[in-house]
């Protein structure tokens, strides 16, 4: 039995981990990476806990280290979100830490801006340079124009940035654009944190574009739930229907795939609602709050042609949904391309109609668990999502940028970026945005950093006495300490900001990232009703367990708020979709998030580049998916190089025959098309932004149109393929 498993068996989390003290492992202190070599035993594995930073789901991880080298990342079995499991991205985190293309020390620009020429400098010089620059800006009363732009970031780095800007006197905080998934999930919340969808206990799951097995909200948490949905102990196999114009990996796992017309998901949901109301399939069925017209205008008989799904099929799905024991509707991906959120509102209305809010198998609206509010600035920070019209517009005297690469995902904004008087990047990699910087202050990787992150997980449990399902809340905090010493001469951004603050004569409420964690842990414990102060042994075991939990938390609270709590927003979907048909651009084009490479932020990890896309098996490149029937009409063969042209631009890509896509749609993944970002990412594939499909550019992406023609020339398409016979008697 491994030490970690021992921890699980002896109870849950920090409260019981004092048992582990005195186990004779002196390296297990909360400063593990700083312990000298003579205190570790060669050849012995030490597992250190942390939080995964490769997507916003923030799963708990444990990292195997030996002789101060990290050699494997696994899910943390104690963490309530991922319970020991971990996805492909999370596993690849080692290649973030040991990536050969990491920036190895602070650097200053030597060539022209954007030339990519930098020379290494010391941290003293780097911090002094930035402090002098910012001091100079402040002396000219231009500090209000300084922008801090922060995307994916550790919690402590974000809070440090908020304090830094607050003290410096600028409120221009900019973050990555909200994804459609974020917005869709937001519509289902009733304030508080993002809701949790109890897929594990649903008996009928209707997903409108939500790729919950790949990219949606928290893929590992929902994959665990999906396993139980299918084959959970003592329950019937759930039925899963997916509405999506392009069959994603998630849709490929559905029992039924309904390829509704692009942008018609809201109409589809209202058609279902109309059937449920007119047939009185649920008690007290109240129609939705429509901006115009009546629900009867959305009857399947009237809307089926636009949805492009037969009315009988819509009626059948509506009946199955309403009559299921625990139905659940979720929304994301292609269903959110309308950008105004009307589809998401209509889809979420289905949950209200069947009354599954805060019930087992339903939408679990969750209060925020924020025990570290005292460490945040008094005035809540307001992060503006970046778009062409807000964020960088009008430039400014300086841009501080961390954890986002807008020069790649929104290349149109390059001029806005370059308009800043001074650019300092905290990126650990020389990406497209960092190339434009004047000063680079490389951050640690997440495995070398300190962090603490608190949230509330949800769990539905079966009560032993009544066999009834009961929804519970599990507040938790995930604690990360450095698992290995810094690989290069980098510095955690929170620490850099604190040092620059000192030079500027500002004070921050914590002295370092480590100090933040040391101050946050007692507040978390206090909020959990535990003794605030930790003994030395408890601190040590926290480095191994990584989570703070309320014992028996599942039974602690069950906020049974009713449907009325959810905002009854007006749904503005016209009974007819405005069609944006153009003869010169006969096809819709969708760009979707690559399950492994994301929107390109993980394109520098070779394990993920060589990981076959599950549907097309393509590796190391981009492609465009086309229905074989459409391709035949255009005389395109599988693997041909084609030119995809949109009103905004053109790209040459290999075509991949994809039977699971509507004939009037083509699709291409985000992820590639980097012009820099290291040896594995640079000069590879196509960035969908060049086709006007920039991530979060505010346009109605469901209106994006394209035409495809054969380009000629040799295509560069590497597919993993298979050498098993195509027709074998495979297990079904």
């Amino acid at each position: 039995m491994k030490r970690r498993e021992f921890i699980i068996l002896t109870g849950s989390g920090a409260a019981s981990t004092t048992l582990l003290s005195g186990c004779g492992h002196p390296e297990n202190t909360l400063i593990p990476a700083l312990i000298p070599d003579e205190t570790t035993i060669p050849g012995v594995d030490y597992w250190k806990a942390g939080t995964c930073a490769l997507c916003p789901a923030a799963c708990g991880i444990v990292v195997r280290t030996r002789e101060h080298r990290a050699s494997k990342i696994e899910g943390n079995p104690l963490h309530p979100v991922n319970r020991g499991a971990l996805c492909a991205r999370g596993q690849a985190g080692l290649q973030v830490l040991y990536n050969p293309d990491r920036i190895k020390s602070p650097m200053k620009r030597t060539g022209e801006r954007g030339s990519g020429r930098f020379e290494p400098i010391s941290w003293e010089e780097a911090i002094k340079t930035l402090a002098e620059k910012l001091n100079d800006i402040r002396s000219r009363n231009l500090n209000g124009s300084v922008v801090f732009s922060m995307g994916a970031a550790l919690n402590v780095n974000r809070i440090a940035a908020e304090h830094f800007m607050d003290a410096y006197g600028s409120s221009r905080l900019v973050t990555t654009p909200l994804s459609g998934d974020d917005r869709a999930v937001g519509y289902a919340s009733a304030g508080g944190q993002a809701p949790v969808f109890d897929i594990a206990n649903a008996t009928y799951l209707l997903s409108f574009g939500a790729r919950f097995l790949e990219t949606w909200q928290s893929p590992v948490m929902y994959s665990l739930a999906y396993g139980d949905f299918r084959r959970g102990h003592g329950r019937k196999r759930g039925r899963f229907v997916m509405v999506e114009p392009r069959m994603s990996v998630t849709a490929a796992n559905a029992d039924e795939w309904a390829p509704a017309a692009v942008g018609s998901e809201g109409l589809f949901a209202l058609a279902i609602a109309q059937v449920i109301v007119r047939e009185k399939l649920v008690p007290n069925a109240a129609p939705p709050n429509l901006a115009s017209g009546s629900l009867d205008d959305y009857a399947p008989e009237k809307t089926a042609a636009q949805i492009d799904v037969p009315a009988e099929r819509i009626i059948r799905i509506a009946r199955e949904f309403a009559e299921a024991e625990r139905p659940l509707a979720i929304c994301g991906g292609a269903a959110t391309l309308d950008e105004d959120g009307e589809n998401a509102k209509a889809i979420h209305f289905l949950n209200r109609l069947v009354g599954n809010l805060n019930k087992p198998g339903g939408v679990l609206q969750t209060d925020r668990f924020d025990p570290i509010a005292g460490l945040r600035p008094a005035k809540p920070a307001n992060w503006t999502p970046l778009s062409g019209a807000s964020g960088y517009k009008d430039g400014g005297s300086a841009l501080l940028i961390h954890g986002m690469n807008p020069a790649h995902f929104a290349p149109d904004l390059r001029d806005q970026i370059k308009a800043f008087g001074y650019i300092a990047s905290f990126s650990p990699f020389l990406d497209e945005t960092t190339e434009l910087a004047d000063l680079i202050l490389p951050d640690h990787s997440y495995l070398e950093s300190w962090d603490l992150y608190a949230a509330a997980a949800r769990r539905t449990e079966k009560r032993a006495e009544s066999r009834e399902l009961k929804v519970g809340t599990l507040p938790f905090a995930s604690v990360a300490s450095p698992v290995v010493p810094p690989e290069f001469d980098t510095k955690q951004t929170a620490d850099v900001l604190i040092q620059v603050s000192r030079e500027l004569g500002q004070t921050l409420p914590f002295e370092s990232a480590e100090d933040f964690v040391k101050k946050a842990v007692p507040s978390v414990r206090k909020a959990m009703g535990q003794a605030a102060e930790l003994t030395e042994e408890e601190w040590s075991s926290l480095a191994e367990t990584g989570v703070l939990l309320v014992e028996h938390g599942a039974a602690s609270s069950t906020a049974e708020s009713d449907s009325a709590k959810a905002a009854d927003e007006k749904i503005a979907i016209g009974p007819a979709i405005e069609e944006n048909k153009r003869d010169d651009y006969p096809l819709y084009i969708l760009a979707y998030e690559h399950a492994a490479l994301g929107h390109g932020e993980h394109a520098n990890l070779p394990w993920l580049q060589e990981l076959p896309d599950p549907m097309t098996t393509v590796i190391w490149g981009s492609w465009v998916e086309i229905n074989p029937k459409t391709a035949a009409a255009l005389r395109i063969k599988d693997g041909d190089l084609v030119e995809v042209r949109t009103p905004a631009g053109a790209a040459t890509l290999p075509a991949v025959f994809y039977p699971g896509i509507r004939p009037d749609v083509i699709a291409t993944p985000y992820g590639q098309g980097h012009t820099s970002f290291g040896q594995y990412a640079g000069g590879r594939g196509i960035n969908p932004a060049q086709l006007g499909l920039a991530y979060g550019n505010g346009a109605r992406s469901s209106d994006s149109r394209a035409r495809v023609t054969i380009a000629g020339g040799e295509s560069r398409l590497v597919r993993f393929g298979t050498s098993l016979p195509e027709k074998i008697d495979t297990p079904r």
Partner: protein, 235 residues
């Protein structure tokens, strides 16, 4: 070792529930990380020389809009009657008394007969030396040898984890039991589709699941007697 009667040796087997498997490929990266599986790079991968001890097969059936997709993770099936074993001229591949199809890297002379004879195409040849640009090599697992050019490699059921689990059980003076050994793929699986254990132990999870009405083996008509059991999706 000699004292233990062979019958008491664990017989390792894996069960994969295809109704839980979503094709997410977490197992693939977990395996790469655990077993020091090299990256081929685009050029070599285009020549079919990438290595995946475990891969996810994707089967597409039907035409739009009635398309069905099935995912199936495939790794070395550790056949009891393994076609790869008798053809090796140097006994680099052999069957262990724990039911593992083992590969001795430093015995392998690279004839590739075994890969030719494997119906599951799960054996991979090192056509070129592995590259680990500084400092990527630091992520290597010190418990697994890095294979050199000219040798064959394949899934070992994470033999290093099996040994650790067995030693632990021995230290505690007991037989191995469920949970002692989890290969990297099984450990990572986000849907808990995979189980691993001793099929000779009637109380183990793999024993129980292998008796399921949904159980079958891949291409079992070949008579290879695979040690990987798939549970059909069912409806």
């Amino acid at each position: 070792m000699q004292e233990t009667p062979e019958a008491k040796k664990p017989q390792w087997a894996m069960v994969i529930d295809l109704d839980r498997c979503t094709g997410c490929e977490a197992c693939v990266v977990a395996c790469h990380a655990e077993n020091n599986v090299r990256i081929a790079g685009e050029e070599e991968a285009a020549r079919g020389r990438s290595v995946n001890w475990i891969r996810v097969e994707r089967y597409l059936e039907g035409e739009y809009p009635d398309v069905k997709v099935r995912f199936m993770p495939v790794m070395c099936q550790h056949c009891e009657e393994a076609p790869c074993e008798p053809v090796c001229p140097v006994y680099a591949t052999y069957h262990s008394d724990e039911g593992l199809n083992a590969q001795v890297y430093n015995r392998c002379v690279g004839t590739r007969y075994c890969a030719n004879n494997c119906p599951y195409t799960v054996r991979f040849f090192n056509f070129f030396p592995a590259q680990w640009p500084e400092p990527l090599w630091k992520a290597l697992n010190p418990e697994v040898s890095v294979r050199s050019r000219g040798v064959m490699e394949k899934c070992t059921f994470c033999i290093q984890r099996i040994r650790k689990g067995e030693e632990k059980a021995k230290d505690e003076g007991r037989d191995v039991r469920d949970g002692d050994v989890n290969p990297a793929c099984v450990q990572s699986c986000p849907t808990r589709a995979m189980s691993f254990g001793n099929i000779a132990d009637p109380a183990s999870e793999v024993s129980r699941l292998s008796k399921s009405g949904r159980a079958s083996r891949l291409m079992e008509e070949l008579g290879t007697k695979p040690k990987v059991i798939y549970l059909n999706r069912g409806e």
